[in-house]
């Protein structure tokens, strides 16, 4: 009945190495609920929070707990791509609608789409595809060296960048992969080919912080410009960085500096409640809330009508998303603006200022969906880097 609360599961990470992102996600979602007084589409929300510790096996148990024990009707989560993949089968079997606030693995909405799964954030390569073009056409770089985290997110985001950069006449002359838990980037910085126009880095978590600091210490800052993936200079860690990050150019579907009323409201809220600018994770969770709200409004709050709710979810259009207009493509992935951003200091704090906007970018960029999906998924060696120099 409509009087019953809507039961929402939230699968996040509160312990272990990924807890920082989990906390930001929780902040974003809590802000969303607070702004609405815990009411969506006229119904109260009962939130069940579960901690997966960033371990796939626990993710699955927690998912089961949410579905089988807490009887949730929709789930927001999980955080990491491998967590989402670990519960992929279960989501299908349990037929539970899931809105992903963070997991960016390409295939989740490409070659292995899941009818019960939609995404509030983009794919790993969604922002780097325009970025590669930008680097070649606007920045006029010809030769670029790449360093990335040696895991799927790194591989995919680098692949997108490499593909469009080389298609626009650039050359990737060096590609280095550093292990996620690398003790020290000195080894990698020492290998950078000095005869490049720029270095593109793709890091997640705290690695961007470490790398950019050491890049400066080894005297490369100011000599070779640094381009970065969205997460390497995300607002979530930018707050911990110093001047060494100034001038880093990156591409992402969000920046706390986006100038629209919805985002101003969001950023103010985050600063009021949690004393920080939102970044990747907070935005993802907040936006997942918006998507849920929009879909519920479409079905007048009747989440119990699962087919109708799922249909509404997959056709959702959010006008008031902090990123601007947001809609989902047929595979459940957002079509949204991608922003080219530059780290600057404003009012004493580091921010990502927007220097260019690519409107309505899809996960397939300018390629045809059919051709895109026919090719194998982006990876460490795909597309092949044909211009490497040794």
């Amino acid at each position: 009945a409509a009087a019953d609360p809507i039961r929402v599961g939230f699968l996040t990470v509160k312990s272990g190495a990924l807890a920082a992102g989990g906390k930001q996600m929780e902040d974003g979602l809590q802000l969303f609920l607070k702004e609405r007084n815990n009411m969506i589409a006229g119904r109260k929300v009962e939130l069940f929070v579960a901690d997966s510790a960033g371990q796939p096996a626990i993710t699955k148990t927690k998912m089961q707990e949410l579905v089988e024990k807490n009887n949730v009707q929709v789930i927001i989560g999980p955080l990491a791509a491998f967590e989402a993949l670990a519960v992929d089968d279960y989501i299908r079997k349990a037929q539970i609608p899931v809105i992903s606030p963070s997991a960016a693995a390409e295939d989740l909405t490409q070659r292995k789409p899941n009818p019960w799964f939609v995404r509030a954030v983009g794919t790993s390569a969604q922002p780097t595809q325009p970025f590669g073009e930008y680097a070649a056409r606007e920045l006029k770089y010809k030769r670029i060296a790449i360093i990335g985290d040696d895991f799927s997110f790194g591989h995919e985001s680098v692949a997108g960048f490499q593909r469009t950069f080389e298609e626009n006449g650039g050359k990737i002359v060096q590609k280095l992969w550093s292990p996620l838990n690398v003790a020290d980037y000195g080894t990698y910085i020492g290998q950078i080919n000095p005869k490049v126009d720029a270095v593109f880095v793709s890091f997640a978590g705290g690695n961007g912080l470490k790398f950019i600091k050491q890049y400066n210490e080894y005297g490369l800052k100011g000599k070779i410009p640094l381009l970065a993936s969205m997460t390497a200079v995300d607002e979530g860690i930018l707050k911990s960085m110093g001047d060494e990050a100034l001038g880093v150019i990156s591409a992402g579907w969000y920046a706390a500096t986006i100038d629209n009323p919805a985002n101003k409201h969001f950023v103010q809220g985050m600063n009021r409640e949690y004393k920080q600018d939102p970044g990747y994770y907070a935005l993802g969770a907040y936006s997942a809330g918006l998507i849920l709200e929009q879909a519920l409004k479409t079905v007048s709050g009747k989440i119990e009508d699962k087919p109708a709710f799922m249909a509404a979810l997959r056709n959702v259009q959010v006008a008031g998303d902090p990123r601007g207009l947001l809609k989902l493509d047929a595979l459940g992935n957002p079509i949204m603006n991608v922003y080219i951003r530059k780290v600057e200091r404003k009012d004493g704090k580091l921010v990502n200022s927007i220097i260019k906007t690519y409107p309505d970018v899809s996960q397939f960029w300018t390629y045809s969906r059919k051709d895109f999906l026919a090719a194998p998924v982006y990876s460490r060696d795909n597309p092949v880097a044909a211009n490497l120099e040794k």
């Binding site: 509160k14 312990s15 272990g16 579960a50 901690d51 510790a53 371990q55 796939p56 096996a57 626990i58 699955k60 148990t61 927690k62 089961q64 707990e65 089988e68 024990k69 791509a81 491998f82 993949l85 670990a86 519960v87 992929d88 089968d89 279960y90 079997k93 693995a105 295939d107 292995k112 040696d150 895991f151 799927s152 591989h155 990876s379 460490r380």
Partner: protein, 318 residues
């Protein structure tokens, strides 16, 4: 006494899905049994042979990845994939044994740790085969004799069957003359060779068999999760298996089972109620080691004995 306990325990396990009430608890029980399988297999090494291994999750990975890969990429059927995975993992265990048994004590621990890390690194890095950190998903559960393992209770009974089988085999094996010699090599390796035992060979066989049972557990793990990624092979996972054995009571048959149940339940249930559940787990381990330093099962058995003695004393006096 022991027999009665065992009987009650098995009876409880048999009716557990009815007691559980929801699939969630049945699934938890399946997970605890699978963890117990790992702990049982590791206990052969740690408890009976006195060789502390920090690489046991490697066998989980070997079995899980190879069966998953064979099914997903070569479209092998379940049974052949399982057989091949077990055979392959056992062979690798044999080879690892050759390397690791060059040392004993902390050296053995380090070599097994390193071997485990190497398997982890391969799983992580050889993405074309293993899917990298995204892992392999879409793995189906087998249909032994047409029995559908999809529903939670079905899978639970299947797991229980495998568990009881392995447990019985292990129980018989450690009682056997060979089992006696394994314990001998743990306590006095030098004397054992002087008595005519081939200490190295005994250890190697134990290592290989432990690897085999680890692979059995690995298969059950991947059937349950229907997913495998490098996280399952991580050092933390090997350490967790070791902690189960030590907390429950090494070189006992019940210890690893108790330890596994404890850790699985704490991890999955306590984490629903408190945020700082890892800290709680840490305190539970500390508590165990302080009050029953040889593990829960031996500790409780000792308390029980003492209590019995005291009762008898009282009766005598009365």
């Amino acid at each position: 006494m022991k027999r009665a306990l065992l009987f009650i325990f098995i009876a409880l396990l048999a009716i557990l899905p009815w007691l559980a009430g929801s699939d969630y608890y049945t699934n938890l029980a399946s997970q605890a049994l699978i963890a117990a399988l790992f702990a049982l297999s590791l206990n052969l090494l740690v408890g009976y042979a006195g060789l502390t291994s920090l690489g046991h999750a490697g066998f989980l990975g070997l079995a899980a990845y190879s069966s998953a890969w064979l099914m997903l990429n070569l479209q092998w059927d379940q049974a052949s994939a399982a057989a091949a995975a077990l055979a392959g993992s056992t062979v690798v265990a044999g080879v690892f044994g050759l390397i690791a048994l060059r040392a004993s004590g902390i050296g053995f621990l380090m070599i097994t740790l390193a071997l485990g890390q190497i398997l982890w690194g391969i799983a992580y890095r050889w993405a074309s085969v293993t899917g990298g950190d995204n892992g392999l998903s879409g793995i189906s559960r087998p249909h032994p004799f047409g029995f559908d393992l999809g529903p939670a209770s079905h899978f639970y009974y299947f797991t229980l069957l495998v568990f009881l089988l392995v447990w019985a085999v292990v129980a018989l094996w450690v009682r056997s003359p060979f089992g006696a010699s394994i314990r001998g090599t743990r306590d006095q390796p030098r004397r054992m060779s002087a008595l005519g035992f081939n200490v190295w060979l005994i250890r190697w066989i134990t290592f290989t068999i432990s690897g085999f049972f680890g692979a059995v557990a690995g298969l059950m793990y991947v059937y349950y999760q229907q997913f495998i990624s490098p996280h399952s092979l991580a050092l933390a996972n090997s350490a967790e298996m070791l902690l189960m054995v030590i907390a429950g009571g090494p070189a006992t048959l019940a210890g690893p089972v108790v330890g596994a149940a404890l850790v699985v339940l704490l991890k999955n249930i306590a984490s629903g109620y408190i945020d700082r559940w890892i800290m709680l787990l840490g305190f539970v381990f500390l508590f165990i080691v302080l009050f029953v330093p040889n593990g829960i099962v031996p500790g409780v058995a000792k308390l029980w004995q003492r209590w019995q003695q005291r009762r008898r004393h009282k009766e005598e006096r009365a």
